[in-house]
């Protein structure tokens, strides 16, 4: 019934390679984009922005980044938190050094700085893989957090050792600090997420994406058919870190406003984003979105259920929340190891035929 390719003829290779080859899917995607850009900004309030939408948008960017590295190129990384911190501190230094420059440029440059750092810490991947690479990136995580704690230049010698975002704007619209309107911060992050999604999709469906996936699936064969492993792995680290850096910059400047590095970008952040990618589905852009949504919305829903509906004390609910989220992750991974993206693929297959059995 839905998602049927019947009657939807492709007459060029360009059409055949497009992101949403099925017409129904394409229109649904346009509808979601239009709703996100044109409707949500008018109905958004501070609670929705801070509790759900901003964290979802920002984590989704990080998840897209990590998915490129781990899901598409097969290089396990536990350094996501550290790379987010690089993005955040780069953004902070840029914001304080060039106050008159647009936030857009700061955030993108922060991503660029993170890409360079990512390539540097990605170099061990040329010799080691799997668990050993995970340990090497873990070293990056701890080193970067230590660096930002210990070198006062990074936090501009502030007494608290924290960094806090000064008020900055884009075209006169305030984006950071306590006076920023919810719709502006939301739109700003949404633009970055949309761009990240588009770029990630374009890269993964083309030449670079194929060399990443070739390295992931069988690195020796990939090299023999002509993939330069150095180039493939380094571009994966660069692009991945670019997105993770942007997400870190937004997380600090737009969402939190003030950051203590060990707390905001610690090892638990690395694991959170890794869980998002695994639960959403490795090697799927949609999966990164779904995983981020799942792990951002689930705690909020559990809190609403426990505190508001059942009237339990907040601290008990907070603990239960951890237990339930953890249990759900295990149950989910046992039932569907390929994540929400795979679940969605199965649903689509079923919808093709629905309501008929064959």
């Amino acid at each position: 019934m839905f998602y049927r390719e019947a009657g939807d003829f492709k007459t060029s290779y360009l059409q055949d390679g497009q992101t949403f080859p099925i017409r129904f899917d394409r229109y649904r995607y346009y509808a979601v984009l239009a709703f996100g850009f044109l409707v949500v900004p008018f109905i958004i309030n501070d609670y929705w922005a801070n509790a759900i939408l901003l964290p979802f948008l920002i984590y989704a960017i990080a998840a897209v980044g990590l998915n490129i590295l781990t899901g598409y190129c097969g290089q396990v990384s536990l350094g996501t938190g550290g790379f987010m911190a690089v993005g955040a501190y780069a953004c902070y230094k840029l914001m304080t050094a060039f106050p008159e420059v647009s936030m857009f440029i700061h955030v993108i440059l922060a991503g660029g700085v993170t890409a360079l750092v990512g390539v540097l810490f990605g170099l061990p991947s040329l010799r080691i893989k799997g668990f050993y690479l995970a340990v090497a990136t873990l070293a990056a995580q701890f080193f970067l957090v230590w660096l930002f704690n210990r070198v006062p230049w990074f936090y501009n010698y502030s007494a608290s050792g924290q960094i806090s975002a000064p008020e900055r704007d884009v075209f006169g619209i305030i984006l950071t600090g306590p006076n920023a309107p919810a719709w502006a911060t939301y739109l700003f992050c949404l633009i970055f997420l949309t761009l990240a999604g588009l770029i990630a999709r374009n890269l993964t469906r083309g030449t670079v994406g194929r060399s990443w996936m070739a390295i992931r699936d069988m690195d020796i064969a990939a090299e023999i058919i002509g993939v330069n492993p150095l180039k493939a792995k380094m571009t994966a680290f660069a692009v991945s870190s670019f997105f993770v850096g942007i997400s870190g910059a937004l997380f600090f400047s737009i969402y939190l406003g003030a950051v203590e590095v060990g707390e905001a970008f610690g090892i638990q952040k690395s694991f959170l984003v890794l869980f998002m990618v695994i639960i959403g589905g490795l090697g799927s852009i949609f999966g990164s979105f779904a995983g981020a949504a799942f792990l951002v919305v689930l705690p909020v829903v559990l809190k609403l259920l426990g505190v508001d509906l059942l009237g339990w004390p907040t601290d008990i609910v907070a603990h239960f929340q951890l237990v339930i989220v953890g249990a759900l992750i295990i149950v989910f991974l046992v039932l569907e190891p390929h994540g929400i993206a795979q679940l969605w693929r199965v649903v689509k297959e079923k919808l093709r035929l629905w309501p008929f059995p064959h």
Binding site: S12, Y13, L14, G17, I199, N202, L203, R205, G206, T207, V208, R210, S211, M213, A214, R216, D217, M218, I220, A221, A222, E223, I224, I225, G226, V227, N228, P229, T235, V239, G283
Partner: protein
């Protein structure tokens, strides 16, 4: 019949050119084990060259030396008139040597189309930014290479599984997709490591037909390892026979078939 510089004409009228690849006194050691012992042979343009021998004779090692996966301990590899300097395998692929593997080495997580497209990676040069925007050079390059890939897909008759993930395919088709991936690179020298291993008679016949067609239509030079003697004797123009890392025979199939050393190696020899 065999002219050193000019090449020769086969019985069925195909013209075989000069030497494309020459292995000079190749020796390959792994620690104390000598896998290949001082072997020399050449491969001529447009010919189908077979490497045969009993298990453990060093055939696959020889193919790995040609494709650059192993660097020979001693000896020289000459490709198209030039001595090959030490190179990474992907650089050798860029010179126009493509191969298939004994145990299928396809990228299981990708579709057939994407797998065959990876064969074109050596030819695709658009930059990261162009690809990120999917405009200009990246798009044009994708379409141009897709056309070549579609020709290969048509040629090998795998149109119907174009969008199928490779992991879902049966063994025989996987072998064919792997051949497609190697062909997509439009190689000057195609190496096939046991292209018919584990196939039934019909699949073998199909594969033989494809190998002959490739050689016939594109003039591709092919070097292959195969255990099925009927296939080898029918397909190949010249045969190298290896045993325990040494070359024990080299020449046209008929000559090799009657070589006493070869018969000993295959049938065993009485030790009394």
């Amino acid at each position: 019949m065999l002219d050193q510089a000019e090449g020769y004409i086969t019985d069925d009228g195909r013209k075989i050119g000069g030497v494309v690849m020459e292995m000079k006194n190749i020796t390959l050691r792994f620690g104390g084990v000598v896998a290949i012992k001082d072997i020399s042979f050449d491969i001529r343009e447009g010919e189908i060259r077979a490497i045969i021998g009993p298990n453990g004779a060093g055939k696959s090692s020889m193919l790995n030396v040609i494709s650059g996966f192993y660097v020979p301990s001693e000896g020289e590899v000459w490709f198209r008139g030039e001595k090959r300097p030490p190179m990474r395998p992907y650089e050798i692929a860029r010179q126009g040597i493509a191969r298939t593997f004994q145990n299928i080495a396809l990228f299981e997580g990708m579709s057939v189309l994407d797998n065959v497209m990876t064969g074109r990676l050596t030819q695709m040069k658009s930059g990261l930014f162009s690809q990120a925007l999917w405009k200009g050079k990246a798009e044009a390059e994708e379409i141009a290479n897709r056309e070549i890939v579609e020709q290969v897909i048509d040629f090998l008759e795998i149109q119907h599984i174009r969008k199928t993930p490779v992991a879902r395919l049966p063994y025989g088709l996987k072998k064919r997709v792997e051949l497609a991936r190697a062909l997509a690179a439009q190689p000057k020298l195609l190496l096939l490591d046991e292209p018919m291993a584990g196939m039934n008679v019909e699949e073998k016949e199909d594969m033989c037909r494809f190998i002959l067609d490739v050689n016939d239509e594109f003039g591709t030079t092919i070097a292959l390892i195969e255990h099925d003697m009927g296939v080898v004797m029918d397909l190949s123009d010249r045969v190298v026979v290896m045993d325990y890392g040494k070359k024990i025979g080299d020449g046209p199939p008929d000559e090799v078939r009657n070589n006493p050393d070869v018969i000993d190696a295959y049938l065993g020899v009485a030790h009394d």
